[in-house]
């Protein structure tokens, strides 16, 4: 049983913010569903499950207030667009990947890959790693499981608390472990341990591969600029927005990290930007590069999104992954991003240049599974439609 409820925003809501509000509404409460910003750009309608409509309305009002208060309208800049004439898109590439068994869902937001789907993921990783090596990047490997304090020092819990994936274990207590074992023996599902049987949270799954690059250099003085590449599994919880490959909880990213002067990082980003344009050409993919901001938690969003958007500190490569509604713009996903961090991470980990001042940093990340989905959405499932060099690798 659910009932319709609405709140009215004190400030007008533009279309882009409306889309963010609808997406971020996943964090309000499981009892608040179908939240939409109405066409008047002020009324936010939703349904409430259960009897506490007033409590839900108050929570939605706080959420909407956090999203609109201090929101500064900064139009999305399209830096570049590449479109092949006459391109058609697979209407349900993800469904076809599932039907062929190349992708298997193991749980919401978690997939296994095999066959051509895995081959594309390997191909894009190798291609991105090759770009990184050409730019003089040194390869590093880092664990996916890191101390929670590492993310705390990166400001992660202040900006993205909703996306954090914590890892814990049973507390070292013989009797409570035995109790857990006994209750779970012969059970096909997890019987939850008592809260006191679980150790305090002290570890997290990495949300982005670059954080340990900075942590592993804590307190160092860099003699000169540094370029690093690493690949890793990333975890970002996205609640009910988790969907197929488009929005995975766990996914793979190849990253390129720059450390040095502000100019070195900006120039590195431009070189990476040009290299990715070359990739689009080789992979025969449509795409656009646009300004963007991260999905910060609503209460922390406005100042951070403004900083990113106003200085073009975050650019995203968006690749179409399916036809748009009613023949409009194709549906697209961010498949790579180009970021400038300023001195944020070097200040957090005391990484300085020879002159003693914190260095700047920047990074470029390729989302491997999303890139793979875009390939099948744009080239389809007939190898003849793929670039020949890629088809030989993927469908061999």
């Amino acid at each position: 049983m659910s009932m319709p409820v609405a709140v009215v925003s004190a400030r007008p809501i533009d279309a882009e913010l409306a889309a963010e509000i609808e997406k971020q509404s996943a964090w309000i409460s499981p009892t608040v569903t179908e939240l939409r910003v109405d066409e008047d750009g002020r009324t936010v309608s939703f349904r409430v499950e259960g009897s506490d409509a007033e409590g839900a309305r108050a929570k939605v009002a706080r959420f909407v207030g956090d999203m609109v208060e201090r929101h500064r309208v900064l139009p999305r800049k399209v830096v570049l667009r590449r479109e092949l004439a006459g391109r058609t898109f697979a209407t349900d590439a993800y469904g076809e990947l599932l039907r062929r068994g190349w992708v298997v869902e193991l749980g919401r937001g978690r997939v296994s890959l095999r066959g051509p789907a895995l081959a594309v993921v390997h191909a894009i990783d190798e291609d991105a790693a090759r770009i990184a090596r050409r730019m003089g990047a040194l390869e590093e490997a880092h664990p996916a499981l890191v101390p929670a304090s590492l993310l705390a020092r990166c400001g992660y819990f202040g900006a993205f608390p909703h996306c954090a994936s914590f890892v814990t274990h049973l507390a070292e207590d013989y009797d409570s472990i035995e109790e857990f074992r006994r209750r779970n023996t012969d059970s096909a599902r997890l019987v939850q341990p008592a809260p006191e049987a679980v150790a305090p949270l002290d570890s997290c799954l990495l949300p982005a591969p670059c954080y340990p690059v900075f942590a592993a250099r804590e307190g160092t003085v860099l003699p000169g600029a540094l370029t690093i590449t690493c690949a890793g599994r990333c975890s970002r919880f996205e609640s009910r927005n988790l969907a197929g490959i488009e929005r995975l909880w766990e996914f793979n990213v190849r990253e390129l990290v720059f450390l040095g002067s502000e100019g070195v990082c900006a120039a590195g980003r431009v070189r990476a930007f040009e290299a990715v344009l070359g990739q689009l050409e080789r992979w025969k993919l449509d795409g656009s590069i646009e300004s963007a901001n991260d999905p910060f938690f609503p209460a922390a969003r406005a100042p951070r999104a403004y900083w990113q958007r106003s200085g073009d500190r975050k650019l995203e490569l968006r690749l179409p992954v399916g036809p748009g509604p009613s023949g409009g713009e194709p549906r697209s996903l961010a498949c790579a991003s180009f970021n400038l961090h300023g001195r944020f991470f070097s200040t957090a980990f005391s990484i300085t240049g020879a002159a003693g001042a914190p260095v700047s940093s920047g990074c470029v990340g390729w989302g491997l599974e999303r890139w793979m989905l875009a390939c099948f959405a744009q080239h389809g499932f007939d190898p003849a439609a793929w670039p020949s060099w890629l088809a030989e690798r993927v469908f061999a």
Binding site: R70, R72, L74, A302, P303, R304, Y306, W307, S310, G311, G342, R343, F344
Partner: protein
């Protein structure tokens, strides 16, 4: 005279939104040299718009990274 008053008011805003206390050069880069955190930028912009009753373009604000540059920005818009 007007610019001195503008500077005083901008310094007061910086004290409030960025906890920037004490003496510092008007030409110092707020973010790089004075350690103003990036998350304070939006509060600084909105506070300046409210304080001076102006609408400030984001691109111009982004280029004005010191007290003296902010004073010039405000004076130019009046």
């Amino acid at each position: 005279m007007a610019s001195e008053e503008t500077e005083m008011r901008i310094r007061a805003i910086l004290r409030r939104v960025a906890r920037l206390e004490g003496e510092y050069a008007a030409g110092a880069d707020l973010f790089r040299e004075l350690g103003v955190r990036s998350v304070a930028a939006l509060d600084l912009l909105l506070s300046m718009e409210e304080e001076f009753g102006l609408s400030i373009a984001d691109a111009k604000f982004g280029e004005a990274r010191s007290v003296s540059a902010l004073v010039a920005l405000v004076e130019g818009l009046r």
